[in-house]
Amino acid sequence: MRRALLLAAAVGLLLLGLYPRVASGYGIRFMLQLFMWVALAQSWNLISGLTGYVSFGHVAFFGTGAYATAILVTTHGWPWPAAAVGGGVAAALLALLIGYPCLRLKGPYFAISMLGLNEVMRVLVSYFEGLTGGGLGLSLPTLYASVAIYYAMGLAALAATGAAHLIITSRFGLRLMTIREDEVAAEAMGIDTARYKLYAFLLSAFVPGVVGGLFARDLGYIEPVAVFPLAFTITMIVMALFGGKGTVWGPVLGAAALFVFQELVWARFLYLHQILFGAIIILVVLFVPRGILGVLQQRYRLPRYV
């Protein structure tokens, strides 16, 4: 069974790798964004799906990565792949700064502290105009690199999913889950929950940082509102929840399903689309709190690597 799955995965990867040769510009950008959402949903899943600590401001890491990358490219002349990694590092540093104090807080208080993070980052970015161009935004040197970014995003999505697999099937992942299940009991069993939460948080911030940087490079121009939109956090959350919080392929499924839906059906009706997203969150929380794959995993006792 496992052999068959691996073979299918390999074929899938090959197809995705060859895709840009046959696809149109729109097609490439479509998949590029899909990869981005897979990576984002996976990263949210890593902290919130596994540990149960809800990160409402997760897009703050995306935006931070976007700006860090843009600044590295424009002011310091870094090549964009390196700059994107730099974006990831910047996001991870922010996570360290915020996470170290805030993860000590109990679940609901942590969530509250995360509510404001996104807004604060947006405000700070607007304020430090000299560095970031403030409200006028930041322009990157023109570069047509859609295909390269396609591969980069694909790599990010792959890495995020690979990391999810490694983590969820390891004791590290199990320990993260105990934090969600019963933090007090976890502590009593010798698990240093503070440290594990921090590790998960740092990891979960790195990927959005990188992806934010790639996004900035792809767009060529960023401004605070564009890279710190609350809508992104919502979308990440819906995708991870819908597909299966706490599973490896749940975020992939959720991202794919909802992104396709979004592009093909709802992109025309922005507000209606958002209302539906809100409704989906409500429905998932009430009826399928573990998400599709989560429910299947429970019902059919599927292994952890699903």
Binding site: R171, L174, R175, M177, E187, A188, M189, I191, D192
Partner: protein
Amino acid sequence: MTAGADGAPILEVSGLTKRFGGVTAVNRCSLALAPGRIYGLIGPNGSGKTTLFNCITGLSARDAGTVRFRGRRIDGLPSHRIARLGIGRTFQVIRVFPELTALENLLVVSRGEREAAIMRARELLGFVRLDGLASEFAGNLSYGQQKLLEFIRVLMLDPALILLDEPAAGVNRTLLNELLTAIRGLRDEGRTVLIVEHDMKVVMGLCERVFVLDYGEKIAEGPPEAIQADERVIEAYFGR
């Protein structure tokens, strides 16, 4: 406060006090446990037994007093450190990890090499005859099975001192006997056990020495037979 003929006490609690607002849950409690014995902690409801456990294991911060484990002060340490030092505990209300399988529940506790840990976990599961349910989610297990799981989970820590909070609660006769045998086995391995219990038969039959708490204060200690006859104890349970 006898240390026993075996040498230094494994656990020494001195003047432990814990207040919750206006209520003093534990009041200058002192006790000492010699290694390799089974001790009982009894007292009417609300006498502070679980609070005492919480203070020893670092779940609650004590207001005054010290706790020494193997001669070293552990009060003020975070509970995961205390657990790693060798004190394990179970809870009054079972706290297994419901969405992890039985095997995973044990695995998360282990340190060291994964394969060895899995083997040890399976061994313990076999010990309480739960090995058939290793891949079952802990939340789906019956009450008795969860109780056993919580019990062996503590053993994954390889603890020198084990605090059991009402291990007999809600457990049928057969299972109870299994647990008691297991507890005696732990003692024979050289571990120390402290049990909070309401079931007097269990306490009398199992414990070598008993501490009695009332309103957070230790009012008596001694061998079970002496405790049974102690006037203060009788008054605490019935005299009010």
